[in-house]
């Protein structure tokens, strides 16, 4: 008998009587008086910085003023052809990326995370390997909790996606928090609207 | 109200004053108190060590002694919890069940059954409360820091009624003292370290006494205090509640 068959047979034999799934009552979930204020306060608490822009044009203007000598990748308004070529770039060639810009699909007020899927990332390693990360998010896309998040997005729509919350961090040495473990050393969240 | 007093074995043998205070207190509060003379032990020391299979005789003796009472009261959260969770008697299953449901830890009995709100006792001292785990997490005598309960405490509710008593809470209000039954000898190093850390927090509050609802915790803390020549003394909550000037 294959290990698969053996394992499944044993599980079938040993599992207890079927019990039902719970009913998750959304009425019992925490509510926030102001989702945006809550979202901003958590992002700041977990090491991110938040900037507000009335429109995306204002943000674009701001980006254009940034110094040009650094190696930045802006995915916000990339053509399909640019995306296709970026998707094939290896980590070795992305290692020096200074700042990378992405458009988040949804924000979660309770934990300050932003959902980025493969489509938004263009290249899976880019939001992790860049030194500094900028995530752009429409204010109206902030939901209260993770329950609402999974209701609003299909996490299996693309091959890969992540709820990204703050810059990479570690506290593995004496529980001292250090920002910038392996991934980005900073996270800027630009809220539009 | 017919109340049977259960005085756990080590209280009977080493801390008779705790039994006496409990007895006197219940009498004062109007209970008809009986002390079944052939009682011994709840069986916990064996069961917690993995030997529950050996406690049949002990269980049988317990049922024999405590059947037929309205309530059974003991000055020990730990022993009461053990009876509630584990007492069985194959020949007398109904009696065993009745006992499991009618046994109370002392402060629980005073608060929930006698509804004591005005104790005539005095104890003009600085007292630190040690919450015993089995009383708290097992019998739910007080809220627990891990869960989101509204704060409450049956023992403290009673101590607040004692004149002159100043109640002080240690920094970690419900950390285990490290007694743990036979853990206290088989894991001696950890047990003592846990006890020393409890003592240190009470000493930082400059208490005169550490009190608790369980003699086992107090015996362990007392052993450490005495070895360290500390001025802090231990006293069972029954002795405080029964204390008058």
């Amino acid at each position: 008998m294959s290990s698969r068959a053996e394992i499944l047979a044993k599980v079938k034999q040993n599992k207890p009587t079927l019990v039902p799934l719970p009913n998750i009552d959304f009425n019992d979930l925490i509510t926030y008086p102001d989702l945006i204020t809550q979202f901003i306060s958590v992002v700041e608490k977990i090491g991110g910085a938040v900037f507000l822009y009335p429109t995306e044009e204002d943000l674009a203007k701001n980006i254009s003023l940034e110094p040009n000598e650094t190696y930045n990748i802006n995915t916000l308004n990339m053509s399909e052809a640019e995306k296709l070529s970026l998707s094939k770039v290896h980590s070795l060639d992305l290692e020096r990326v200074h700042t990378a810009y992405f458009r988040g699909k949804l924000g979660v007020a309770e934990n300050g995370s932003i959902w980025l899927d493969e489509e938004a990332m263009v290249n899976r390693v880019l939001p992790i390997i860049c030194e500094h990360l900028v995530l752009v998010l429409d204010k109206n896309l902030i939901v209260p909790t993770m329950h609402h998040a999974y209701q609003n997005i299909d996490v299996s729509k693309t091959g890969y996606g992540t709820f990204l919350a703050g810059p990479s961090k570690t506290a593995d040495i004496e529980q001292s928090l250090v920002i910038g473990a392996h991934g980005p050393r900073s996270l800027k969240v630009c809220l539009i609207g | 109200m017919k109340v049977a007093l259960f005085v756990p074995c080590y209280i009977d043998q080493f801390y008779p004053n705790v039994g006496i205070a409990t007895y006197q207190l219940l009498k004062k509060l109007g209970c008809d108190v009986a002390f079944p003379l052939n009682q011994t032990c709840c069986g916990q020391p064996m069961a917690n060590s993995g030997f529950s299979a050996t406690t049949t005789g002990c269980d049988k003796n317990f049922v024999e002694n405590f059947k037929g009472f309205d309530y059974i009261v003991a000055p020990s959260g730990s022993c009461v919890l053990h009876i509630k969770d584990h007492l069985k008697d194959e020949q007398n299953p109904e009696e065993a069940k009745k006992i499991r449901n009618s046994i109370y830890e002392l402060t629980e009995f005073l608060v929930d059954i006698l509804k004591v709100t005005n104790l005539e006792s005095t104890f003009p001292h600085r007292v630190g409360m040690h919450i015993s785990c089995h009383g708290q997490r097992g019998l739910h005598l007080s809220s627990m820091t891990e869960t989101m309960d509204k704060p409450f405490s049956k023992p403290e509710q009673l101590l607040m009624q004692v004149k002159g008593l100043q109640l002080l809470t240690p920094e970690r209000p419900d950390e285990c003292c490290g007694f743990g039954g036979t853990f206290c000898v088989f894991e001696e190093a950890v047990s003592v370290k846990m006890g020393k850390d409890r003592v240190k927090e009470h000493e930082a509050n400059d208490v005169e006494y550490i009190t608790a609802g369980d003699v086992s915790c107090l015996m362990h803390l007392e052993g450490i205090l005495k070895r360290q020549n500390s001025r802090v003394k231990t006293i069972h909550i029954a002795e405080i509640l029964n204390h008058t000037v």
């Binding site: 499944l8 599980v11 919350a165 | 009977d12 003592v192 006890g195």
Partner: protein, 456 residues
């Protein structure tokens, strides 16, 4: 209990350095406090725990079907599924993938399952080196130690220790103990491994039957960095990691990090559904005793564990004895109820390494009755004969005395002075009680004697 170094002995050694023990205790207590604060931010916390518990109970009661669903959906996503009935098979599957591809540059993010299976040791014996990329795991790997905590692998070490280790292995400045500096050195060192990695091994926090995808949570970004570079991703998964639907992830992602570190969520909660173009993705589903544990009614719900380590941080024994004293991959209270299933003889001491205070069960995000299972394992271990003979005789003697009231009274009257018949009251220097504690003073009369006088 006849281990070479059982928990009690190892704990005693740990405690010898009392300031360090205090530091360890306080550091982990601080994590417990952060957990309390985080839990208190959600009014629905206790209900959330209940949902988590019920989802896991449901899944375990239908585990075979969910595993098959998961397999079908994952395969449709282009993921290759392997089944391993034990640690050996798990290790061989991974070894074969490595050798088939002739890969040499292998990185691994944290996976307690690979620790349980001793994957690194297995591969080293075959001449294959794996670089652990979680900072804490890299530190202990340099030191040839095992992680002492499932979430904070190097929590037994102080920054001076890390500094010395990094000086030796990474040539950092001698005596520079700044965590920022040391972390930066590890970042530079591991970056080279990441960008060159050919094969990346990860664990699995949750696998979703409905989607065939799985979730890996990290704060450092090490799992994603390795996986998204490497040509092959192998995810090692205990078969109890399954949950039915993606929406259930909400419950567990809300519970996991709040319980673990007090964070509202990890920095990266990454959902892997399909390999990227040109990449291979493998999942090794491992039993290794889990199906056996599923059959033990008293212990099956230990399989609900989501490895948050809240029970470690709250455990007064763990905080004062250190993870290594548990001599297993998963230490702490949860380890003490999981490990006897793996090897009863070797781990017979662990269910006794607890005061049964119950704090572990209270913090458990999926409501495992940990302290009750510790009690139940004790009964099983005694019944199966895994305790020392001296303990057996002592307990038998006590049980006999307590079953016979007259004998009890007789021994009591003699014993109060010599205090012999309680196991912890042998009044001599060999008695562990007496080592650091005084005996209670024997009173003149027992309560019973007093009571009888009153009645006269």
């Amino acid at each position: 209990m006849e281990n070479l170094k059982n928990h009690a002995t190892a704990a005693e050694e740990f405690i010898k350095d009392e300031p360090r023990t205090d530091w360890h205790d306080e550091t982990l207590w601080f994590v417990r406090q952060k957990r309390d604060l985080a839990a208190h931010t959600l009014p629905e916390w206790e209900e959330l725990r209940e949902w988590g518990s019920q989802i896991k109970n449901h899944t375990l009661s239908n585990l075979d079907e969910y595993l098959e669903n998961f397999e079908t959906n994952a395969q449709a996503n282009g993921i290759k599924i392997h089944w391993a009935k034990d640690a050996e098979e798990h290790n061989q599957i991974i070894h074969k993938i490595i050798t088939d591809n002739k890969f040499e540059k292998i990185v691994k993010s944290k996976s307690m399952l690979t620790e349980e299976c001793h994957l690194n040791e297995f591969l080293i014996q075959k001449g294959i080196a794996v670089v652990d990329t979680d900072l804490g795991e890299r530190i202990v790997q340099f030191r040839n130690e095992a992680p002492s905590h499932i979430v904070l692998p190097a929590i037994h070490l102080k920054k001076q220790d890390v500094s010395e280790t990094f000086h030796k292995h990474l040539n950092t400045e001698k005596g520079n103990n700044d965590p920022q500096y040391l972390t930066e050195a590890a970042r530079q060192h591991l970056r080279n491994h990441f960008v060159e990695s050919e094969l990346a091994i990860t664990g699995v926090n949750f696998a979703v039957a409905e989607t065939g995808g799985f979730v890996v949570c990290t704060n450092e970004g090490n799992a994603d960095m390795g996986v998204n570079t490497a040509k092959i991703h192998i995810a090692c998964m205990g078969m109890e990691k399954i949950i039915p639907k993606a929406e259930h992830l909400a419950v567990f992602l809300r519970l996991l990090t709040r319980s673990a570190t007090g964070q509202p969520i990890t920095t990266y909660s990454s959902h892997f559904n399909k390999p990227r173009p040109g990449q291979e993705m493998h999942i090794v589903i491992v039993d290794n005793g889990r199906s056996r544990q599923l059959g033990r009614a008293d212990f099956r719900n230990s399989l609900k564990c989501i490895r948050c380590a809240a029970c470690f941080n709250t455990c007064p024994v763990y905080r004062r004895s250190g993870g290594h004293s548990y001599h297993t991959a998963v230490a702490g209270p949860i380890g003490s109820i999981l490990s006897p299933n793996l090897d009863m003889r070797a781990n017979a001491d662990l269910p006794f390494a607890s005061t049964l205070c119950g704090s572990c069960s209270n913090v458990c995000p999926v409501k495992i009755d940990i302290h009750e299972q510790l009690w139940k394992w004790r009964q099983v271990l005694v019944n199966e004969g895994y305790v020392t003979t001296t303990k057996k005789i002592g307990m038998g003697g006590m049980a006999m005395v307590f079953a016979h009231p007259r004998l009890y009274r007789l021994l009591g009257s003699i014993g109060r002075k010599t205090i012999k018949w309680f196991p912890f009251f042998v009044n001599n220097k060999l008695n562990p009680w007496y080592k650091q504690r005084d005996m209670p003073e024997a009173p003149k009369e027992s309560f019973r004697d007093w009571f009888k006088k009153q009645q006269k």
